[in-house]
Symmetry: C5
Subunit: 322 residues, 5 copies
Amino acid sequence: MIVDCAVYEDGCRCAGDLPLAEAGEAAQRDGSFVWIGVFEPSEQEFDAVAREFDLHELAVEDAVNAHQRPKLEVYGDTLFVVLKTVRYVHDRHDVESGEIMLFVNRDFVVSVRHGESKLHDVRLQIERRPDLLRCGAGAVLYAVVDRVVDDYEPVVQAVEADIQDVEHEVFAPTRSNPAERIYTLEREVLDLHRAVTPLTPAIDKLARGHYELIDPELRTYFRDAHDHILRVNGRIEAFRDLLSSALQANLTQAAVRQNEDMRKISAWVAILAVPTGVAAIYGMNFDHMPELEWAYGYPLVLGLTAVICLMLYWRFRRSGWL
Amino acid sequence: MIVDCAVYEDGCRCAGDLPLAEAGEAAQRDGSFVWIGVFEPSEQEFDAVAREFDLHELAVEDAVNAHQRPKLEVYGDTLFVVLKTVRYVHDRHDVESGEIMLFVNRDFVVSVRHGESKLHDVRLQIERRPDLLRCGAGAVLYAVVDRVVDDYEPVVQAVEADIQDVEHEVFAPTRSNPAERIYTLEREVLDLHRAVTPLTPAIDKLARGHYELIDPELRTYFRDAHDHILRVNGRIEAFRDLLSSALQANLTQAAVRQNEDMRKISAWVAILAVPTGVAAIYGMNFDHMPELEWAYGYPLVLGLTAVICLMLYWRFRRSGWL
Amino acid sequence: MIVDCAVYEDGCRCAGDLPLAEAGEAAQRDGSFVWIGVFEPSEQEFDAVAREFDLHELAVEDAVNAHQRPKLEVYGDTLFVVLKTVRYVHDRHDVESGEIMLFVNRDFVVSVRHGESKLHDVRLQIERRPDLLRCGAGAVLYAVVDRVVDDYEPVVQAVEADIQDVEHEVFAPTRSNPAERIYTLEREVLDLHRAVTPLTPAIDKLARGHYELIDPELRTYFRDAHDHILRVNGRIEAFRDLLSSALQANLTQAAVRQNEDMRKISAWVAILAVPTGVAAIYGMNFDHMPELEWAYGYPLVLGLTAVICLMLYWRFRRSGWL
Amino acid sequence: MIVDCAVYEDGCRCAGDLPLAEAGEAAQRDGSFVWIGVFEPSEQEFDAVAREFDLHELAVEDAVNAHQRPKLEVYGDTLFVVLKTVRYVHDRHDVESGEIMLFVNRDFVVSVRHGESKLHDVRLQIERRPDLLRCGAGAVLYAVVDRVVDDYEPVVQAVEADIQDVEHEVFAPTRSNPAERIYTLEREVLDLHRAVTPLTPAIDKLARGHYELIDPELRTYFRDAHDHILRVNGRIEAFRDLLSSALQANLTQAAVRQNEDMRKISAWVAILAVPTGVAAIYGMNFDHMPELEWAYGYPLVLGLTAVICLMLYWRFRRSGWL
Amino acid sequence: MIVDCAVYEDGCRCAGDLPLAEAGEAAQRDGSFVWIGVFEPSEQEFDAVAREFDLHELAVEDAVNAHQRPKLEVYGDTLFVVLKTVRYVHDRHDVESGEIMLFVNRDFVVSVRHGESKLHDVRLQIERRPDLLRCGAGAVLYAVVDRVVDDYEPVVQAVEADIQDVEHEVFAPTRSNPAERIYTLEREVLDLHRAVTPLTPAIDKLARGHYELIDPELRTYFRDAHDHILRVNGRIEAFRDLLSSALQANLTQAAVRQNEDMRKISAWVAILAVPTGVAAIYGMNFDHMPELEWAYGYPLVLGLTAVICLMLYWRFRRSGWL
């Protein structure tokens, strides 16, 4: 589905929407370029676009099928960029990912969006920067990359909050076992890692001026985006180390708690063994057991047993077993 | 066993099968090449082919013996490529691997197949693309590489499903111990890794135009194959991390379950200790134990014991020990 | 907030403070440069500085917002350097971090400080080295980098002391479980790692003369700073390995202690089981039990039981169970 | 001890053995070279050889002392290659290692052998390949390298068999604890790794034509050897991962078995607690306990107790505790 | 403290000691150089040396303060090399480290020693090699580097012996817990690693002829030292892997031993439960218990109980629980 199609000339959007058929022609005009936004196109829908702009069959195949890895490839004069968008779903404590593919050429930008992400905002934002738009289609590429990378930040923040949560759970006295949560977080962080890492060298190349399509003035901006993605990457790396340690620490906590339980149980067993043992002794049937004949033998023995039990309880208490 | 032997000229297959003896001559003709498909050849069978096309003895040795690692080597004008094919066997939850070796030259392609893999399909498919076949023997190499790499995808998917299965088992309340399954999966993933990883730089070289045998137009196609193999590789890497964490999480679960069992057992031991202890007390033989003489002493004590046991049961229930 | 603003000419500070408005002009003079120190500026405050010295919008944005990663970037003729300062807070056994950003140009240095760090000291120190100041604005960059890197040393020392502390706790006979402390230290070390590591290649570039802004004479000094940061880095790497092993060793200690407790408990249970068992035997109601009729049967049995218990105690003692 | 000393001319061995004193002279002749095989020489023995061929003192020192790491060094015109030979001793399930050092020059090859390895076979084998011998002394180097690398294969196979053995032991129901075997295998694999890995870049350099001593025609052969060593290396890497996981899995199995034992024990304790508890109740001395007076009270209670025990046994059985 | 100060000319030591004040002048003479040995100098002592030879302030600072990391730096014409010396203290099973710093120039060598190490021996040794001394001051650098690297060997050997010791302890049946020893060894190995690893690239540079100060003839010798340090490094790497596995294996052993203890304890508990249970049954007060009235009831029951206990003992013995 074609969402928006406009001509940009001298840094400004030309008024009015453009039918696809005229877009190819408009794109040829000097100093101007066309930006077509497409949302989850079917093969047929995208075929029209591909024919209009003479896109390479392999790139087209990638653009129609989602679940690509982030990459930057050159097909003739056209850059083909795949970006992974991520979104933290607070209800499910889960990270959802989508994709944005961009065909960028001197004359046109074709952006293909899969999953939820707000390219319309990006369009409005970049339209407010005629100084950048004057640099040509690369400015659109920058605007999209910048947004995608900026959107990683809140996701990373949310995952960090989840990790801190799980840390508290590991060391909390509530005896919960967050092994599954830690594992699920590890999975999420791995997914994030796979979304972010392959993008890093691609943006680096854009920043270092590997492609003459990108106006030199834009390089500084791509370098800024590169720096942001490095920061995100560094934190994701740290997450992996932390979660791996948290899993190990959780195992330790489980072992330590088991030990505590065992000592507690044993202490009670020892306390309970006293009256049974004493009672068994006075349950013996010897003919001559003087205590049995004492008038106050029974309460005395009961009392003594209680005293021993209390003393044991107090000692166990003091040594931290109870 | 020679399976198929045909001349390709100007992007099309010349009618009719060719005896091996004429293949060498046909291969010399300008603008045409011969593709000979061989299946698990004996040394003698392959000697004829090797002599016809003057293949290097070391490459021939590799081609006859299976169990090579993936590689790309240059012997004079001829590229020698070894590819690992993989297949997921659903009955045994196991990954089977085979091999395809290719000798590629301006004049001929010799493909040697070990184990199950469907090169005939690849032949039919590439014959439907005269535009690619016109690029020469490199197109056949592309077609085979593309198929082999595409076939990794379903295997990776199946292994991922197995991993998710094992994850559920780890965290399921059924108390199974999937340590052996996790370990077996690790073995499989390692095998996959060894099949896929060494191929990556080889395809990269093909895509970057290291070999003039490969028509420049085909580079884009090899780059696409390279991208696919990187994606496969990335997922395999993630599998390794996941399985290692799953093994650790499984150990934690075992420890936590042991703790739960221990607490359950201890609770029952404590409950059972009450009647024994009480009974032992009233089994003492003191002369003066007033309770013994009470008319309702016996039911009273039994009832009291039952009440204490029920209270203990309820407390253990509430604190999660039972 | 502008903290200090001075002109340096021929290695010496010109007398008097300078209003910002005149700083730009003064900076243009040959052989002199201006150093403006700013502390946690608001966007408006920093806008004036940015306009005066024509700083790049992206660098300005980074300078106003804290929480950047360490980096060195070039915007036209201006180097933009972000440094992480760290400080060990002894009360909380915690590492606090701040930031210093520097814009360095032939004509000016703008230093922006976030969090606590003593740039004033650095200024006084470098003003005592006219030989270095004569090398231009790069000398200020060196002075700040050197101070920041030197300040890592005491933090690393303090963390090392904490690690040794935690090691003692792991192997101490006091049965404490320092899993949480180890984990917290791992977190701290990761933060340190993220503060220090990205700086290393940046300082290396300064030392290798990548930037003509830096006087060749200063390269040796930057190389010295690079060497210091490598030393810090090496120790941080070692911390990570140590803490990971400490976590594992702690788990082992927990397991071994549990075993010791179990054996201790079991020994007592065995000792207590003797009187109960013996008493139960003499509590049987057989008509013919000769011992029961012995005059000294009761004390004999009691004594025998005590002897057996003592012997058991002695044996358990000897075999290390008690 | 000099084992064999012969002149090779135009790809063939000249008849007769050569005394060392004439070897130096013979080596000078054009188009011919001398191959001297030495076995565990003493310093004095080797001194004669070293003087005859003017070998560098440092290389000589390395050649006399065993326990070098694999390497390739250039001393003037002479290549000095150290190779580690390995052999699997089936009786002791152990890997034994030896060394072969080679001095290779246009005019001579001096091979020094430490430990068991069959250089005589290599000599016979290469003498059957005059086409290779015609390439000069490099052919001998190839022949030795090829044999050493080929000999890694059966060792790797044997170690793999040991690993599979130990895997079966880990997951077998026999409750053995193969921790020590796993650890010993890890040690062996590490030793293998240290024998094989440093050789890889050395052979790569030989294959890439870094040394003009090596005839270009031999490069293909060295590339083949390089490929073999990469394959060996890949498997050794995989062994390390597998053994590390096996150790972890073994720990899990130990924990799971402990849990099983604990549940089994607890079940029996619970079953045994029933008769004791019931008997204690009917051992109370209340005056009014109607059951005691029943004619069939005793068998009834015994039977009831037995029934309860059997029911418990059956329930534990069903829930997998017994 | 200046320990020795001598002029070397044409490979030989000129007779007599030299006062520092004349050393600078002597150093200027063509074809000769001065070697000054200093031991743990105070700042003032070293100032005189630094002024005499015009050493760079940063290098001087490093030379006076110990605890540098190994490095090689160039200050103008002077190489500044820091080496870590290590020594194994057999009494404390500990590795002690010292430092040697060298200023090497065409005209002089200043060696600064911190901690114990025998530079005097090195001096005597190199003085016996006029062929090397003729290569200039670089020969002294080689002699010192060679000695330092050679001294790593016995330390590595001693640590390896310690590791084997600890391995035996892990798998010994004595039930000791060497977790702390393993951890301490890990610390030591890390320290060794930090002493050795940074030296490797420095010596490599010396061997590859990066510095024209080093006579080409010495390169071979530095290559030999580089090879030795690589060997040391490889073993240290292996130590780290081994110790990490040993820690894991130790945990497994602890778990397995706990299981064995638990089974042993449980077996005894089961055996002890039999007489108590049987005695409790015959302690019941039923009016009609025929066995109680049997003449030989008591010894019969005692005997039966003993038989059951022995049978249980025998079964537990056979199944490996006792």
